[in-house]
């Protein structure tokens, strides 16, 4: 079992996750750094302390996180079975035709893969071509994973499909405390599904309203956030989403590669900065810091610059 840095190590000793406060953590990463370990660290912390978590991903399927979690000693499968974790897969079936109810007739017309708009490669390297699930009505009720399908050519009406996340949150939050929420890959909705950035921002706002701590993972490569007068609407939309979320966030955790090049015992740089959300009256302060991190089979270690990590 490997070791992961705890959220207290990352965000500062005095920072606390408040059960009723709609906090927002924004995790940004660049190509070449994987923010998954930060996700595992947060998931581990929440699930161990018995909190309910809704995890939605538009970039990876559950198998990716199950394997990754296993490497870090986090058994997501058992939490999924227990019901403390709800996984919403917005990746596998995002552009497949909408199935009205799980018990209805199986999908008849599956569009050829070449016609689909999706096909975003997952971060964890190539995966074997997916078996598009043919009719498996007996297995469907037992499958605890919820899927989001917008249909082959998403229309604004298809946005209602995203209410699955909302329902999942409401279902878990009945017992007084609100569940936590982790969302990965909201940029896919803008880039691939053609959803307006304002609709995505509204969605985040509504979801934050009914969850305790929301963690959002987005890429922040310079080409995506540095805009100019000649930027395309897609670039503008992405930058708009990332920066507007950063304006309301409690903490911004950004991962990037080492400025000086590749090193064999450093994976990248983690920078934690305080957002405007942390300036309010709630107690606990986000400690800003810049640390190096190293991801290996033995876990992830974060250490100060110059301390060599030993």
């Amino acid at each position: 079992m490997s070791k992961l840095p705890t959220p207290a190590e990352i965000l500062g000793q005095s920072f606390r996750f408040l059960p009723q406060e709609s906090q927002l953590l924004l995790i940004t990463s660049v190509l070449g750094t994987s923010p998954s370990w930060l996700t595992y660290s947060l998931l581990h912390n929440s699930l161990i302390s018995g909190e309910n978590v809704v995890f939605a991903s538009f970039l990876n399927e559950f198998a990716y996180f199950r394997e990754g979690g296993k490497r870090h000693g986090l058994d997501l499968q058992s939490h999924l079975r227990k019901g403390t974790l709800t996984f919403i897969d917005g990746f596998s079936k995002l552009f497949l035709p909408v199935v009205s109810t799980p018990a209805s007739a199986p999908v008849q017309s599956i569009p050829a893969p070449s016609q689909r708009v999706g096909g975003i490669p997952p971060r964890g390297g190539p995966i074997p071509p997916r078996q598009i699930p043919q009719s498996a009505p007996t297995a469907a009720p037992a499958d605890p994973i919820k899927y989001i399908s917008l249909g082959p050519s998403p229309s604004p009406v298809a946005l209602r499909q995203l209410d699955v996340i909302k329902t999942a949150l409401q279902g878990l939050g009945s017992s007084g405390t609100r569940p936590k929420l982790v969302v990965e890959g909201l940029d896919v909705l803008i880039a691939a599904a053609g959803i307006d950035v304002r609709a995505v921002e509204d969605l985040v706002y509504d979801l934050r309203d009914i969850s305790s701590t929301t963690t959002i993972l987005l890429p922040s490569d310079s080409v995506l956030i540095q805009t100019s007068a000649s930027s395309t609407p897609l670039e503008l939309s992405h930058a708009n989403l990332v920066i507007s979320l950063a304006h309301t966030a409690d903490a911004i955790l950004s991962l990037r590669l080492l400025d000086t090049g590749v090193a064999k015992d450093i994976s990248g740089v983690l920078k934690v900065t305080r957002g405007a959300g942390n300036l309010g009256d709630t107690d606990g302060i986000v400690e800003e810091k810049e640390m190096l991190y190293y991801e290996s089979d033995a876990g992830v270690r974060i250490f100060a610059r110059g301390s060599g990590g030993h």
Binding site: L236, A239, A246, S254, R274, A276
Partner: protein, 367 residues
């Protein structure tokens, strides 16, 4: 605009006039500013400044209406929160007008009775441009009509605009909109007070670089680091007395106030985290009066006269001087004092008149 260089000649004048105006604007007293626009960025949020406005308005019993587009946790002293997300401009305007109209029928025009705070004008801009040129849809009102409809003599508006969020103009509005000004320019034109907030830690770093004639470093999105959105030092405040685990809310802001006559006043302020001393409660000072920005600042002499910084409480004798000792000391004529004034300026010549008892050696000494 770059922050001012320390200027000893004008600072005394600005310390009295501009600081007074700055304080009055912050308290919304005496000098009215119906529309205050605060420009902020990821490096420094306007939240501490807005909270200061709210705290001062609360003392004056002004009803505070918070229009929330993005904030889920509004500040606690707010009278009423209007959730504006998803609402059209018309609906929002009706709600705001209803909220700001005084309940009793006798509004006092000389006193501000309600304060409207808008947490993200970016969203207001985006909903106001949504309906334009939409053909089938009923065109929504423009931003300037919206703002002028909620402004009344008894209402003051404080709006925050995030300058670094890129604006997306809908493709279908481009045709009708080509000659309209950029909404930010329009807002800047309409406002009576324009405030730009800066992070103290970043401003001080830039000042130190400029003092050594080095190019000032950039921060945030302009830092030039791949994948980096914000820099260290963002939203950290600046306070000598705050502990590590306390939130410091100090910030620097540039204020431009336009009087009704058209004359504008521009000044840089530092909003302190705590009151500077027990005697003065005012947390607003000129940026130049902050020791971290201007290390050459003249310390205000302390009240007990002598002693100064020397800790003389546990000494068995007095280090200070009495008035008589002081005047005696001033009267002492130092040796060769007159020589300096009369024959000085001719270099390092030694003034010495040889006496009778001097053993004079002609070969060695030449005077």
């Amino acid at each position: 605009m770059a922050p001012p260089q320390a200027n000893a000649k004008t600072v005394q004048y600005r310390r009295t006039h501009n600081l007074l105006l700055g304080t009055r604007l912050l308290s919304q007293r005496g000098t009215p500013s119906p529309f205050t626009l605060i420009l902020d960025s990821l490096e420094q949020s306007s939240a501490p400044l807005v909270e200061e406005y709210i705290a001062r308005a609360k003392q004056l019993r002004v009803s505070i209406i918070y229009v929330s587009f993005t904030t889920l946790r509004p500040p606690k002293d707010v009278t009423k929160v209007i959730k504006a997300r998803g609402k059209s401009l018309d609906v929002l305007q009706k709600e705001l007008v209803a909220a700001t109209t005084p309940a009793s029928g006798q509004p006092d025009p000389s006193k501000v009775s309600s304060m409207v705070i808008i947490d993200s004008t970016n969203h207001l801009v985006s909903i106001s441009s949504e309906g334009e040129g939409g053909g089938a849809r009923k065109p929504t009102m423009s931003l300037s009509i919206f703002l002028s409809s909620i402004l009344a003599p008894s209402v003051t508006v404080i709006a925050t605009y995030h300058t670094d969020i890129p604006r997306i103009s809908s493709p279908n509005t481009a045709a009708g909109n080509a000659y309209a000004p950029n909404p930010l320019e329009l807002l800047k034109y309409l406002c009576t007070t324009l405030i730009t907030v800066y992070s103290p830690s970043h401003t001080f770093t830039q000042k130190r670089a400029l003092d050594k004639s080095l190019p000032p470093p950039n921060f945030g999105l302009d830092e030039g680091v791949e994948g980096s959105l914000t820099s260290l030092g963002s939203n950290t405040g600046w306070c000598e007395t705050c502990g590590v685990n306390e939130k410091s809310r100090g910030l620097i802001y540039e204020l431009e106030h336009r009087r009704m006559s058209g004359r504008a006043m521009s000044e840089w302020f530092f909003l302190l985290c705590h009151a500077p001393s027990k005697k003065s409660k005012e947390r607003l000072i000129l940026l130049e009066d902050h020791p971290a920005y201007n290390p050459t600042i003249v310390e205000v002499p302390s009240a007990n006269g002598g002693g100064g910084s020397v800790e003389d409480n546990d000494l068995t004798f007095s280090l200070g001087l009495t008035a008589k000792q002081k005047s005696d000391r001033d009267g002492v004529v130092l040796p060769y004092f007159d020589a300096q004034s009369e024959e000085g300026g001719t270099g390092g010549r030694i003034l010495y008149v040889p006496g009778r008892e001097d053993d004079w050696d002609d070969e060695e000494d030449e005077i």
